[in-house]
């Protein structure tokens, strides 16, 4: 009805996207630049080759993936069980536990990181991969719970009772009837945990130990010294990976953007 306003709006939106994507796209382009400097001197996979032969970066990559896989799997198991338990709770204990669940979500990451660091020192757990995994679990589990709970609410509670009525043991009813019903939420929780984990910097920064770097920490340390072409290549790869993960999550949750932030 208002073509002019529509066009102006689209142009505006385009500028916003340009602002958001320009640096990322340029970063990706320059990761293929032959030269170490900003001037373009030809297409090359040089930095990618260098990236994969850099033992420090490869170690960080290994740490990132190991922590993300272990933390997201454990978080999903514990978070799903917790969601089922919380769903069956009475009103006020449920509220209490949900308030505690929201704490790591709402609390600034830096406070979560600092508090966990104090805990590990207090319990004298040597910081390193183990503490990274524990720390990542502490902020992943709430997201698993929050993506499984809605599925439990949607589920007809009678199907569990029907399974019991038909002679299934509670264990079996849970495994064969409830779990398949809430599976979409569980998978979403798993993917979100994985993404959150590889994405995290602040909590990792405070809870890792000497010599154990993940990619975020590596990038942080490198970025403080300025541009580094190997890091460009690494960033380009990470961008592509995260984009693929998000496309999968998005396919699963359809248009529901609410869960994404």
């Amino acid at each position: 009805m208002k073509p002019k306003r529509n066009i102006a709006g689209k142009v505006y939106l385009f500028l916003i996207f340009l602002f958001l994507y320009a640096p990322i796209i340029i970063l990706i382009i320059y990761s293929f630049n032959e030269s170490k400097f900003r001037t373009w001197s030809g297409f090359s996979f040089k930095w990618y080759i260098e990236l994969f032969s850099d033992t420090k970066i490869m170690a960080a990559l290994y740490n990132t993936i190991l922590v993300a896989v272990v933390a997201s799997l454990l978080s999903t198991v514990m978070g799903t069980l917790a969601a089922i338990g919380i769903h069956g709770m009475k009103k006020w204990p449920k509220r209490l536990i949900m308030d505690v669940t929201y704490l790591p979500v709402l609390n600034p990451d830096i406070v979560t990181g600092v508090s966990l660091m104090l805990l590990f020192v207090f319990l004298s757990i040597p910081t390193g991969r183990l503490t990274l995994i524990l720390a990542h679990m502490s902020f992943c589990i709430p997201y698993v719970i929050l993506s499984v709970l809605p599925k439990l609410k949607q589920m007809n509670p009678n199907i569990y009772h029907a399974a019991l009525d038909l002679g299934a043991t509670p264990m079996r009813a849970m495994w064969k009837v409830v779990l398949p019903e809430i599976m979409p939420g569980v998978i979403t929780g798993l993917l979100m945990s994985f993404t959150l984990s590889i994405d995290d910097f602040i909590v990792s920064f405070f809870t890792t130990g000497p010599g154990v770097e993940n990619l975020s920490i590596l990038i942080y340390n490198a970025a403080r010294k300025g541009v580094n072409p190997s890091i460009n290549a690494l960033s380009a790869l990470m961008f592509v990976v995260i984009m693929c993960l998000l496309l999968i999550i998005n396919k699963r949750t359809k248009t529901n953007v609410d869960i994404m932030f």
Partner: protein, 279 residues
């Protein structure tokens, strides 16, 4: 239904990994280390925090976060409006394009600007190329306050747009039609219906920008060099170089209290606004 025990491991977990750590922060915040290494109760850390040197950092952090939030709101509100237009094609793709940067590593996004903003970066090269700058000249984009605020806006803009967008798409179209039916033109509809009904989204957008902006230390470290100190940098230094965990914990506590309070305020405001008239 006896499913409660399913939550038991998680309850233990929360106590150990959420509640106890926070109590430790409280403990460290309210104690100081004496010469012989033992901890004694003290308010010294907080007194120290409220001395001018640290207060300045505190106010600077609040001020930069405030400016970033305002800029994000001014840029983001119109974007959310365009995005929520029902005539817009490929709305889903656009939303996804907004979500992707949100989930991209904040360090990557911040780092990406270095290539553009450095003294030898692309923008300076371009300005030299079109002879706005002479040979060897460059504009110092990085390592000062402006760069930090810029980085915050860049990183957190999607966090402003999406909640507003989400509330706007939930707006009942028939309410807009009702207003038009009663004689309201585009501006009236915006002023009297769309804007007031989008306030809950604006509120959560403000929260989602302000909180990370006030607590960041990576953006200021990368784009601000060591020249811009924010609360986050201050905390980081206490646990790093300065090795004063007590003071670091106290600052964290102040930060946490401010943020949880403002969130409580925001959410109570949202609830109030659901039922009552604001404008």
């Amino acid at each position: 239904m006896n499913k409660k025990w399913y939550a038991q491991p998680y309850i233990l977990w929360s106590i150990l990994f959420v509640v106890v750590p926070l109590l430790l922060v409280v403990y460290f915040g309210f104690t100081t280390k004496t010469a012989d290494g033992s901890m004694v109760f003290s308010l010294e850390n907080f007194q120290k925090f409220f001395t001018p040197a640290y207060l300045e950092v505190f106010l600077r952090s609040l001020w930069y976060a405030f400016i970033s939030t305002v800029v994000c709101l001014l840029l983001g509100y119109p974007a959310a409006m365009v995005l929520s237009n029902r005539n817009l094609k490929s709305q889903g793709t656009m939303v996804l394009l907004l979500v992707i940067p949100m989930w991209m590593n904040l360090l990557l996004r911040t780092y990406a600007w270095l290539t553009l903003l450095e003294n030898e970066g692309l923008i300076n090269q371009f300005l030299r190329f079109i002879h706005v700058l002479g040979e060897g000249e460059s504009i110092q984009f990085l390592y000062h306050d402006g760069a930090v605020v810029f980085g915050m806006v860049y990183n957190f803009l999607p966090f402003m747009i999406l909640p507003i967008y989400s509330v706007m798409t939930k707006l009942d179209q028939s309410v807009v039609e009702a207003a038009e039916d009663l004689g309201a033109n585009w501006w009236h509809v915006f002023r009297r219906v769309r804007l007031p009904l989008s306030i809950p989204g604006v509120m959560s957008g403000i929260t989602m920008v302000f909180v990370p902006a006030v607590t960041t230390f990576a953006i200021s470290a990368i784009l601000g060099g060591n020249k811009v100190t924010l609360l986050g940098n201050l905390i980081e230094r206490q646990f790093g170089q300065m090795n004063n965990w007590n003071f670091g914990s106290a600052i964290s506590l102040v930060l946490m209290v401010i943020i949880l309070l403002s969130m409580g305020f925001m959410s109570s405001y949202e609830k109030e606004n659901e039922g009552g008239g604001l404008l």
